[in-house]
Subunit: 178 residues, 2 copies
């Protein structure tokens, strides 16, 4: 089967600080025309900082869309023109005050490919040194170190629901046989 | 640390077929006011249909935001007022032509909690019967059955990048010890 869609028209509805929203008209394989809602996002990084003692840095922050505090691995958006490896190093320092000797790329995630361009790059950070956090001015978060085994149990029980955290914890478990 | 943000104003910028885009003003813990871009999404389901012969149904479809064909587990949006269990049964039938005797809930995912309200519910489907697919009119996709071991290898190598597929394959691997 042929699988393609051709853009006929594209209209920018909103250019925000984080997302750009577009409404396109696309021609489908059978010749019909369908509307496509697209949310453009700069993408980001997520890091699993694994200390020699078997603990992992996690963060808790208020996530406005859910009006709730969500537990996640350290993560952040790419800044304009920024590569994902330096972004991972920056977010580690900002969010959990950690510098690392070893940073291993563990692949990327398309978070919501039906409507969003967001790509998230995953890293495992090792050979860590713990320092002080210095989050962005409008970023309020709590950092904590928990045993990897506890984090894995919370992912498997469904207590941790953040998609990038679930994927990166389970991928690390599988690849390192932790 | 207190973690909260209080909505001061909310403006709907776009009401689409799939997403609603809002721009809010929120008061932060320190009293400052920040803008919050929110993409509301109805949420969805993702299903891992595991046959007795160890194969899994996957689908390939053109994902417009990436202008590329993406390999995913069967999935779909919730319809208005629809619960996620019947949605999983419906999507299994529509996308891969499968009916199931056993459907196990494996928890949910917040796909992009920084800006999106999307929640995805994961199911493992077993005791399956293969029939004919009947996708929606504007949905063009290829369904295939592949060994679970192949799917797991593609997740671990980074060849499969769809977040819900990565999370659900790895969670199933861990819970069933496959």
């Amino acid at each position: 089967m042929e699988l393609w869609e051709k853009t006929l028209e594209s209209q920018t509805l909103f250019e925000g600080k984080i997302v750009t929203v577009k409404l396109d008209q696309a021609q489908l394989v059978d010749g019909t025309v369908a509307r496509r809602e697209v949310v453009e996002h700069p993408g980001g990084v997520c890091i699993l900082p694994l200390f020699d003692d078997g603990t992992v840095s996690i963060v808790r922050q208020f996530r406005y869309p859910f009006q709730a505090v969500v537990t996640e691995l350290p993560a952040g958006k790419l800044e304009k023109g920024e590569d994902h490896r330096p972004a991972a190093i920056r977010e580690l320092a900002e969010e959990v005050g950690v510098t690392c000797g070893k940073l291993t790329y563990l692949g990327c995630l398309y978070l919501s490919p039906g409507f969003s361009t967001e790509v998230l790059h995953m890293y495992l950070a090792q050979e860590l040194k713990q320092g002080q956090c210095h989050p962005d001015a409008d970023e309020f978060l709590e950092a904590e170190r928990v045993p990897f085994s506890q984090l894995l149990a919370q992912v498997l029980s469904g207590e941790i629901v953040d998609a990038k955290t679930v994927a990166l914890v389970l991928k690390t478990r599988q690849l390192l046989d932790l």
